[in-house]
Amino acid sequence: MKHLRVFVVLGFMGAIALVASLSVVAAGSTGTSSRKEAATAAAVKPPPVANAKAIRTKYGGQKITFIGDNIGLTHQRDLKLAAQFTKDTGIKINVVPHPKASTDAYAQLARNFSSHSSSIDVAMFDVVWPGAFAPYLVNLKPSLGGLAKIHAKGIVQNGTIGGKLVVMPWFSDYGILYYRKDLLKKYGYSHPPGTWAELGTMAKKIQAGERKDNPNFYGFVWQGNAYEGLTCDALEWIASSGGGHIIDNGKASIDNPKAAAILNTIRGWVGSIAPRGVTTYQETESLNAFDAGDAAFLRNWPYAYSASQTSSVKGKFDVTVLPHGGKNRSVATIGGWELGVSKYSKHQGAAIEWIRYLASPGAEKFTAIFSSNPPTIPSVATNKAVVKINPWLKPKIANVARVARPTRYLKAKYQQGSTIIFQGINQIENGQNANSVLPRIASELNRLLK
């Protein structure tokens, strides 16, 4: 009893620590699905497996490990698909969610492959990883080449290294512009900006007006932190302004006047129509700012659409393609996830059947409705029920020209190359002139490409 007080206080402290940890984890996780989504999600079921009997005879009873999507709604989706697959074919699937941060997920797979472990059979691969992992993946062309034909060509090409189809497309992501349609109307604009210059003008005017009531209002937010997301945003700025694709034809092409011009424009925006802190924003922070009603324009991935349905800007925003520079066309950086089989897997046949099911039109329709993941099959992407829930799938947005990050040229050195790119662009955002940073980026990239 003498020490009761100490124990009580220690227990109290432990409880505080526990609650603090859990609340940060919960706040950061993507498990916050909207009620509307949950209602639709519950209504849709995974499709039955095609050729189930034949698969069961050949591989029934085997067990494979699948490194799947994050904890939350997407993990639920994986579990549902796995349950249906097991029910139909008798192949058991151990679904393991991958780490939330893309770099940690990369590290997990890198460790697995470098130790030649057979503990992972199928895994999700970010679209920028096939180049690095190609030597460790099974060629899916013989078995899934036919299925690959109905998927978007650009994404299939992205997953084809040295003639081998090393990963099967699953979701595609592309950058889009979110805008406050109520504010555009209020300040007399009848349509969203078509060029970057227009966006700058509109953002300035709206910000000036809104600042009277809201000192935290800014015109435009994007992902400006020094991480992979910045490479995506920067590629969009540069490619839509006629500045090339950072690396073209095996050589760094980023050091050109058009790229320097658009990057210096962005540099001018930081601190004026974009918050000074935008150089530290990732997807979450930029989305939070938009959802809190503190931004007129946001560049983000399609997932943000359903995420914003539970925020204060619900019903007040819309989406469109990103602006372009001058007479160039608008573009969107390809993001997304693909599926691959480890060449050290002991159940390659069963693993391939699992991928065949996941990448089939029926399953992609399910994932599009259940967790609003953009399908890589054009016919599914134009399906009426799917488009109804995901307006960013409308043809005029979904058909925007896609640009790919330079994984094709950098291959296994992509992470290193991307680091050079995003660190340099981040320096420009923080105030350095693009004309002095771009030559350095180009020479360092050329050194990697040698």
Partner: protein, 313 residues
Amino acid sequence: MSTTEATSVARPRFRRRRLPRLQRRQRRLAWILLAPSLLVVALVAFYPLGRTVYQSFTNQQFLALEPTKWIGLANYFGAAGLIHDSIFRDAIVTTVKFTVITVFFEFVLGLIIALVVNSNFKGRGVMRAVMLVPWAIPTVVSAQMWNWMYNDIYGVINDALLRLHLIDHGVAWTAQPSTALASVAAVDIWKTTPFVALLLLAGLQVIPSDLYEAASVDGASKWQQFWRITFPLLRPAILVALIFRTLDALRVFDVFYVLLGQRLGTQSMAIYNQSTIVQTGDVGYGAAISVAIFLIISVFVVIYVTFLRVEEQ
């Protein structure tokens, strides 16, 4: 046998002789009992260290299929070696600046808190336990919490300062180079001051109170009591706290990772090391960085240990 024992007792000359059998047996027993722990330390500490040093002399890549080659000192002194790495030099400078700022403030604040909590007041026990809360929360969790608080649009800190009319628009604490290091240091100081306070409190409790009574009788002021009694007697605890904190601060990772990420110019040594090994996959070069960090920290350890020894004399 007995003559040897008799000789070692009888002759007072200080000659190196074989120890008496009992002592020899005790020594052997001591080694046998220590052997398991030494084995564990060798396995957990020396083997990885040795392996890292070995790896730093190779060109090992994480995902490469070609076999690793021995390249000698190229990772250190070669054309693309550590010597020419300006990013690593910046990282060292950033980390040392961070270490000096945080250790200084943690020490001063920790000492003040320890002195306060050492004195007798109602609720002292509860206060001592509650003051450890910042330290109890996992670093990554509290760093993320602070990251959102520092946000220049919806952060709590900017909101409070705006309402108090101390600033006219939100400050991007972690983005601006002028405030970035200070912001990160503030989080670390918030988190670790309780730990330093605890170490110093332990040292304070050992000082007998009759020293203070005697000093008061002799007419010493509180300030004199502090400098003449408390501070000297607290020196061992202070040095322990300083060594702990300096070594920890030199290896800082969590707060930098969450708050500053991979921006050029604000990386700590551990951040640069991690991104080289995990993201670039350059294990050989990363091992060289690890060895360099190890050597830098060793320098600080040697300085402190020499300092300690001087004190003991």
